[in-house]
């Protein structure tokens, strides 16, 4: 059924939510064929054993992590794995000629020291960190092309936050010393691994904050903002857990410069910045997005509130953490790497309600 000009994709980490979302999206992609679904923990098992919702959709069994085998079956491999795994696997996959799209945080930070400090893990090879392209499509998509061997997909929080901040930072419209980010995520962001903090009766009817000033996405956000601003940016980030499955909202605060006085100013600025980018939707002045407006889709919706009383702007940015924050943006990056339209296979509407 697929177009002749397809490529073959392998997915590592198919027992997690990122991996299974890649299956959902790629099996509907017109130019990609999933040829291997890989699990280190349960090779040989039927795919539908862990995910019965894929009955009749994804036949076959889980492959082991075998670079030679995967290279014989696939052109590109997605790594939807926990931190630390891609440090090990990406070099092996690159060596056998596979293109690698890493959804984990292992290749996002250019500085090995920062990785070690924030992730408390051994960093990846410095040359590979240098080579890896950070695929925030709407900002640095021009760097994602057919020469890219190792694509580092942005984190879920950074995607929502950076798309919400970068146009204002680039325009010099907000005071870089005043950026405060209050972020909220659905529970799927914590993955499928068992923990008391994802146990239903603990999370349901509860709202909690975690990793205050310690979240490993902080250096990723600051690295990107610093690059845009041309000078060091430091931010405050609090992450919270919302009793829902999908969705991230970042509520961001900053003092505004003189030239940015109204909501409409911000709307215009962002509309210009994201002109022709299909997945960012800037909301008209006086309205703000809710996470449900993007559920199941690759959209990032952004809204603004400038407060004359305080001279601050509040910027609200929402994504589906599993799509735009993981699998969807990874496919968007694949599209760019292949020279296809970036929206190929991704133009589906949010599911509501």
């Amino acid at each position: 059924m697929k177009n002749k000009k397809t490529i073959r994709a392998a997915i590592v980490g198919a027992t997690g939510y990122g991996g299974v979302e890649l299956i959902r999206l790629l099996q509907a992609h017109p130019r990609v064929e999933i040829t291997s679904v890989i699990s280190s923990t349960n090779p040989g098992a039927e795919i539908i054993q862990g995910f019965p919702h894929l009955t009749n959709i994804m036949l076959g069994t889980l492959d082991a992590v075998d670079p030679q085998l995967i290279a014989s079956k696939a052109d590109v491999v997605f790594l939807a794995t926990p931190a630390g795994v891609a440090v090990e696997l990406a070099p092996q996959f690159l060596q056998v000629g596979l293109k690698v799209i890493d959804i984990s945080g292992d290749y996002r930070l250019k500085s090995p020291e920062l990785y070690e400090k924030w992730y408390k893990r051994t960093p990846a090879d410095a040359a590979l960190l240098e080579e890896a392209v950070y695929g925030l499509c709407e900002v640095w998509g021009m760097e994602v092309n057919d020469t890219v061997r190792l694509l580092s997909n942005p984190g879920c929080f950074p995607t929502a936050i950076l798309l919400g901040l970068i146009p204002a930072v680039a325009a010099g419209w907000i005071d870089l010393n005043t950026i405060i980010i209050d972020a909220k995520s659905g529970v799927s962001g914590a993955g499928r691994g068992l923990s008391l903090s994802s146990h239903f009766a603990e999370v349901n009817e509860n709202f909690s904050a975690y990793k205050l000033n310690k979240h490993q996405h902080i250096p990723e956000i600051e690295q990107a903002l610093t690059r845009v601003a041309g000078k060091p940016v430091v931010t405050t980030l609090t992450t919270h857990l919302v009793p829902m499955n999908r969705g991230i909202m970042a509520t961001m605060y900053a003092s505004v410069a003189e030239e940015a006085r109204t909501d409409a100013d911000f709307v215009n600025l962002y509309n210009q910045y994201y002109e022709d980018r299909p997945f960012v939707r800037v909301r008209k002045a006086g309205t703000w997005p809710a996470t449900k407006h993007v559920t199941g889709s690759n959209y990032c919706d952004i809204g603004f509130a400038v407060d004359e009383r305080t001279g601050r702007v509040t910027i609200i940015s929402v994504i589906d953490n599993v799509v735009k924050g993981a699998a969807g943006q990874a496919i968007q990056n694949l599209n760019l790497m292949m020279g296809w339209d970036e929206s190929t296979g991704l133009m589906f509407a949010p599911m509501y309600p």
Copy 2:
């Protein structure tokens, strides 16, 4: 972008969940173009005013209910309206040459008396009731063809229940006097109209039963089972409200006949009955579907448990009430009416989690 051989569709009731799901599914359908979105309550308003998640996806404004206008813009009209509206509108739309697919209950019961008794409303014209084709695709899909003018889409509960019972009834494997149906639905089934029974703080962290022995889907279920059995079937139905948005589970009980002694027997029977039907997935013996296995998709998943101790079978059937129980099955019926493959535009995977 759409294929030349497309048809033009209008949707009435686009301020409700059935209507907005038709928009989500039809805008991705390769052979249908949505040419009019209609609301009696708010004509002239932007579509995205009520549904901001459709920003950049569904432009334009809501049309008024004007049969001539609609006939000039569309070939087929979907009625996603509350009970009683299609009684009024369907004749008008048919008269101007439109094909009508009614998602409400107005044309499901052949007997005007039964409609009046259970819906407490004036029934539709008897001739139209006679003409209307009941589109339970996997059972009576052969009757859905290009001669059909008025298609009556099955109810959400009846879809799950009938697909779960009919093969066993047709085979004579269950005692028709013993059928008990315990059904559960997510809250979207109650629609977008405001009521205390859909008020968040009343429904959340709550599980309730409603309309005991009074649900208007009872005569629809019995009419279909009676047709299959060739003799009158009476059932007990309890409907419950689950604190979730989407999903229906029907848990059904009946005493089994001698020849049906094991789960595997039922699995085989159902696999034969639904051979080549893409949207029914019979689970292997010893496993049962959960509603999340079909969320966002057009699948109906079915599982069995035969109990030697009691001589009863428990049949579990799940659907997404907004898709297979409403918009998805309506499109499946449109596909059949047009002579297309019934799965056209509907072969997407469930969203998980």
Copy 3:
């Protein structure tokens, strides 16, 4: 602050939901003092480490499982432990002179064979099984007095189900061969132990069935119904998981005898049966309880729907599984064992919403 005539209570299993609910209820009980909170997995740890909501309420650290120590500090010990633990611990506690209230299923079945078959575990000592008193207060409360050494607290599902069925069974108003029970529980019923089936993103926005015809509460229900009926009763039970923390609803079906023709008949029968019992509330004809009506309280609410068309009655019974289904009923039993009013410390209103 406590009355002089208090007793001292120890709680084993204080890292689970049953244990922590005992703490909530007992610390407000006017005649009980909690003198030891015990955990086999984490002795020495601060109680509030695992349960920060008890900050300033429950000081001190977790004791180890040491019968002599506990006997020196307490008069009665509650076992809020997983299946199999009380088989080991109850004899040790009895030997040192403690009264034992077991909230697990270890002493509910009189037949060791049935326990072994349904629990797949080694049963308790036969003499102790014989001695243990099954504390379904509203039915066999007269057997709970100061001579009881070992009290077996009913299971959560059996409590809701038996209170809903026994008056009708005792009166001969339902056909014992036709009893079908469709039960639904909030997720706290699965405990605090980690499992994929209690993982937030798997359970939320989902409704599932489990252990069809295999639930270990089936023999407990049948043992009690058989005792009431004076002849063997066999039932069909399906248990379901509801995406909420607390609450059980049992929806029960049976064919009715001639003399029970209306909802009002059932209401009268049950009001007579439960006269003067403070925790059963029979709803007036035509209304049914929802689980939220009893959240946080020790009530069991019951409603009826007799269907003339089918000759069946539907009985709906709801409890809070953590209170009336566990900790609350255990305290009610303690009250009876001490000769106090059975409602002592338990007459608080449900929390709504």
Copy 4:
């Protein structure tokens, strides 16, 4: 059962969540008797008609709003009414000699102009605004005594926010120009009135922001902080809706002064400030409260995170909006007005899970 030294209380607005929580808490209060439950919309109806969970607990019918009648039955009246109602009713109740505890916002702002600006309503009589005592117990409890005729109960957001900020503001530890408040509330905060924004399928699996820079609690917060600081304080507040019933979290940000360098410093400061206040629990350094830690209780839990990198402190404060944010604090104020221990009838543990 009640102590002789009881007072008689009337509750206006008993069809809402604040009113029904007053019933739950007052019926368990040892020194208060509920003698009248009042509704303007449905006088004469049984109380349990709208709230079946009160079956057997709260007998009787709803009274009409009749000051003379209420004065004959009660000593104190609680107003759990929407904005604008207490403007009308409080003077009438005061005139007939009742003490009035207003849970609405009508008497919180000393300035009629501010009320008019933020509430878009006609303000109360200026003399009564002047007389009304703002009952933030842990801060201005010394002003709540037996001379108070009109007690204005703080708003739900202000309670969590002010208890979290005031000790730091009073100590001069935070830069008053940098206070940013990101607040989140469960849906019960929106009341029982029907609206699309409280419709289950719209709120569930959704996280949204509302009233950016426009929330009527902003002037209340600023009035209190200004009073503490002795100079004008302006703040930024964003309120969000969490898909849960109960709970408020305020996440607050400010730049810290030199002397406040560690989490432990803040913990010590707050422990001193709230010494001997039973309902504020300061969490030890490195831990933060979640809303579930206070569900159903009158506690306010507070935690801190000082970030050396940015020189900011993040303060997290949680309450149950229906208890400490409404009915519970109102009773705490009643206790103070009567000269009783402020915790009378309020020392129950949170419900977990």
